[in-house]
């Protein structure tokens, strides 16, 4: 287990008991948890290596209660960390020991569905998949589909700008929401965007999306719904070497096809998932690609011909086409269960989330396998290949002394290699506490200072999710000093962004 030392020591002048006493009248005794056994389930999110106990967990049941909780906290200088379903993988919902954890799980209602305007208004605690399920009978769905969609909340999706396997064609959360209601740090309610395609003024909708709970608490989300495609079919292609699979990805895009999903898995991931869900993957392949095509039945047929041709030319050993909906879902089942599948073959695994330009796919894979050997830790790779978003899964055993630390260092090195290849340190999981140091590699002081100024514009006292997402310049100075190799910062020749 690791602990996170935030860059801030902010805490209220009030004693914990006094804070609890002020919050109970707001949300009721049952909704303020403060005894150790009540707090234990909340001490981590999906990045379970990091744990911390908040001074209380508060579960408001209405927007008014959230406003009042925020008023009490801001008046008394109490830090607040919002939490949705706690599936985040970067420690974004890791509690802050001198603050409260504001849990939005009671906000679990779909407030309205408007098929004519193709939108739904939902509370932030609604699960991602529940939205698509609720509108399915209308022929509609909510497009972003993170692999965690049965569990994660739409509020958490907004805070992380979550993606999914269909975002190459249908976009991320930011592209699929129309409006938010947000409670500010002082407990004021604002509406951002509206039930329409654009709104005048600064684009606070874009700013709030992906802001990791640092700028406000999302209490309502208006999502855009799309008509379900008339037809969707998936191709499953296997390759004898990873580089050819990587090239096939670029070739499909160059051929002018925009697949609904384009995912890749390497051999260790294929084996792990095949053992787990029996998706019918070829276990001897070095890599597989899953390419989903959707649209009208006619369009899909045309695209299948085109993609089959590209795959053959790129050297695919075998290509299979889903014959029916059940088979399409089976092709995806392996990919969607890749994380838990890898979880079965190793005591622990650590999921990395870098993004690279697609052309660097081959070289980054070689670099990852080189680093994997250097650190003596196996890595299984799954990717949103179409978007160049990699999820190397590092296999380790937390019970072996030093192994977690080595895993973290390896993860950091992989992210730094992504930056060197012209990419970034997080495609969809967020910075949280996990990648706070790599922010120093990605951004220069000027950008970091601007991030802090934006934060201060919304939250002058720094009470919301303290210490997360944006490192202080002091932390970066220290981190970069430790990372100086031979008198040079890492990758001195690349531009810092």
């Amino acid at each position: 287990m690791a602990t996170f030392a935030p860059d801030t020591r902010i805490r209220s002048a009030l004693a914990p008991g006094a804070i609890v006493d002020r919050l109970i009248p707001v949300v009721g005794e049952d909704h303020v948890l403060h005894r150790p056994e009540q707090l234990a389930p909340y001490e981590c999110d999906g990045l379970s290596a990091y744990r911390s106990v908040p001074l209380a967990v508060v579960l408001p049941g209405s927007v008014e209660e959230v406003c009042e909780v925020m008023r009490v906290c801001s008046e008394n200088g109490v830090p607040v960390v919002a939490r949705g379903a706690g599936t985040g993988l970067s420690g974004g919902a890791l509690p802050y020991e001198h603050g409260i954890l504001l849990v939005l799980s009671r906000f679990n209602r779909i407030l309205s569905i408007d098929p004519d305007n193709r939108l739904a208004v939902v509370q932030p605690g609604v699960r991602n998949l529940a939205i698509s399920e609720a509108v399915s009978n209308l022929g509609l769905y909510y497009a972003p589909d993170p692999s965690s969609q049965i569990a994660c909340s739409i509020g958490g999706n907004v805070a992380e700008n979550a993606g999914g396997v269909h975002c190459l064609k249908y976009g991320l959360t930011v592209h699929n929401i129309l409006a938010l209601k947000v409670v500010t740090v002082d407990g004021e309610l604002i509406e951002v965007g509206g039930p329409r395609l654009d709104s005048p003024g600064y684009d606070l909708l874009a700013l709030m999306t992906g802001s990791e709970g640092l700028l406000g608490v999302v209490v309502e989300v208006t999502v855009r719904l799309l008509p379900k495609p008339a037809s969707a079919r998936a191709l499953l292609a296997s390759f004898d070497d990873v580089e050819s699979a990587g090239r096939a990805v670029a070739d499909i895009i160059s051929a002018g096809v925009l697949p609904a999903g384009l995912e890749m898995m390497d051999n260790p991931s294929i084996r792990a998932t095949e053992d787990f869900v029996h998706a019918g993957y070829p276990v001897d392949a070095a890599a597989i690609l899953i390419c989903e095509l959707d649209g009208t039945a006619e369009e899909v047929d045309d695209q299948i011909v085109q993609v089959r041709d590209v795959l053959a030319k790129a050297g695919a050993a075998q290509v299979r086409l889903s014959n029916d909906e059940a088979e399409r879902i089976r092709f995806w089942s392996g990919r969607k269960n890749a994380f838990p599948a890898v979880g079965r073959i190793s005591p622990d695994y650590y999921c990395i989330d870098g993004t690279i330009p697609r052309r660097a796919l081959g070289s980054i894979l070689s670099e990852i396998s080189r680093l994997s050997e250097e650190y003596g830790l196996a890595v299984a790779n799954v990717f949103h290949a179409g978007d160049g978003n990699l999820h190397p899964l590092i296999l380790y055993d937390a019970n072996k002394p030093g192994e977690f630390e080595r895993t973290e260092t390896l993860g950091g090195r992989i992210l730094e290699a992504c930056v060197a290849a012209g990419g970034t340190i997080t495609g969809e999981h967020g910075v949280g506490v996990e990648k706070i140091n790599q922010m120093c590699v990605l951004f220069g002081d000027a950008e970091l200072e601007q991030f802090h100024r934006v934060k201060a514009a919304f939250d002058p006292e720094g009470l919301l999710n303290p210490g997360k997402a944006v490192p202080t310049l002091a932390r970066c100075a220290e981190f970069n000093a430790m990372h100086v190799h031979g008198g040079q910062v890492p990758f001195p020749d690349i531009e810092r962004f």
Binding site: G139, T184, D198, P357, A457
Partner: protein, 350 residues
């Protein structure tokens, strides 16, 4: 012109306390409130920085003409899907991003803002800042490149932008229907829940035009579902809507841009109404009373902008509520503490 030159000029202006009015091709001078400050022409900061068709990403400097960028993409069968208006041949990408306007395809493929992946800009301190990047997915740091979109240059001088691009559709064809406004809105709402490959719509004077885009087979299938009559030479129509050269937009009367939920019924405002975006964008002309208009719109969840002509010394965008206004002011100050960049262009007090 280099980025450093832009940064230096902003630094000088700040030191002198002399605000700048940032100018690209000058084709959108009429957008927002009347420009104030010394004209600062950045159109010579131009050129494509990076383009690899298989990445679906293009990066260019701010002064690059939109037409140049689009011509290059077309050579590779790709496009900027949002169809930003090109009011004059020298309209630049920097201006397009600052104005944040999108054209006919917007409801179906996304807005200009949706396709911005990263931006380099100079803030009001003369500091060069890089946000986002050149990859499809990036959630590191606040999404400040998208915040530049539609800010009308009040937060930074945009010096470089990276866009996601898409393959251009192989086929585009248009159908026309004789429908009144109410019928057209209903028709589009019901078409919207079916997987027909719509890519533009326009209703005016009893006629609804609908564009379909995709593969030959997909477009043909869509035509069969929708019905209507085929329209030849349809490119001119969509271009005239994209660039507002359609006769509806002629003359000096005020032009109001109304953004509404697409299925909102006809608004019953005086004069003709041109409806685009599957119902979500409605244009009207004439001397409307701002408050009355806003009152009508708020009943359907819409909002209005005095888009062109009329009194451009007054506010042209509706006033935000008090809390939002405070956030806008603080956000502006975070980028441009001395209000050097396009002061008053978006709101009188920003």
């Amino acid at each position: 012109m280099e980025y450093a030159d832009i940064a230096e000029r902003v630094g000088e202006a700040r030191a002198a306390g002399a605000p700048l009015s940032i100018r690209g091709g000058g084709s959108k001078e009429f957008i927002g409130r009347t420009p104030q400050g010394e004209a600062f022409d950045v159109s010579s900061c131009r050129g494509i920085v990076d383009y690899d068709p298989s990445e679906l990403v293009i990066s260019a400097r701010c002064g690059t003409p939109l037409t140049e960028l689009e011509a290059l993409l077309a050579e590779h069968g790709q496009m900027l899907p949002f169809e930003a208006p090109v009011y004059a041949p020298d309209a630049t990408i920097g201006g397009a991003v600052a104005a944040g306007l999108s054209g006919p395809r917007r409801p179906w493929t996304g807005s200009l803002r949706d396709f911005v992946l990263g931006a380099v800009c100079v803030d009001g301190r003369g500091e060069l800042l890089r946000f986002g990047g050149r990859v499809m997915k990036n959630v590191a740091g606040y999404d400040l490149s998208r915040v530049m979109v539609g800010a009308l240059g009040t937060l930074g001088v945009i010096t470089e932008v990276s866009f996601k691009v898409l393959p251009a559709p192989r086929v585009e064809r248009t159908r026309v229907f004789e429908f009144d406004e109410a019928r057209a809105i209903e028709f589009l709402a019901s078409a919207g829940v079916t997987p027909v490959p719509l890519s533009a719509s326009c209703h005016l004077d009893g006629e609804l035009y609908v564009r379909l885009s995709g593969s030959e087979s997909g477009v043909r299938a869509g035509e069969e579902v929708l019905g209507g009559e085929r329209v030849e030479q349809d490119d001119d129509l969509w271009r005239s809507l994209r660039n507002q050269t359609h006769p509806f937009f002629a003359g000096k009367l005020p032009t109001w841009r109304l953004s509404v939920p697409p299925a909102a019924p006809p608004l019953g405002l005086s004069g003709a109404c041109l409806t685009e975006w599957g119902g979500a964008l409605r244009w009207i002309r004439g001397d409307h009373d701002w408050e009355a208009l806003q009152a009508t719109l708020s009943t359907v969840g819409g909002t209005s902008t005095l888009f062109r002509n009329g009194d451009r010394g007054g506010e042209v965008f509706p006033a935000p509520d008090a809390v939002t206004r405070r956030l806008y002011t603080r956000l502006k100050e975070s980028f441009d503490p001395d209000r050097i960049l396009n002061p008053g262009r978006l709101y009188g007090d920003l």
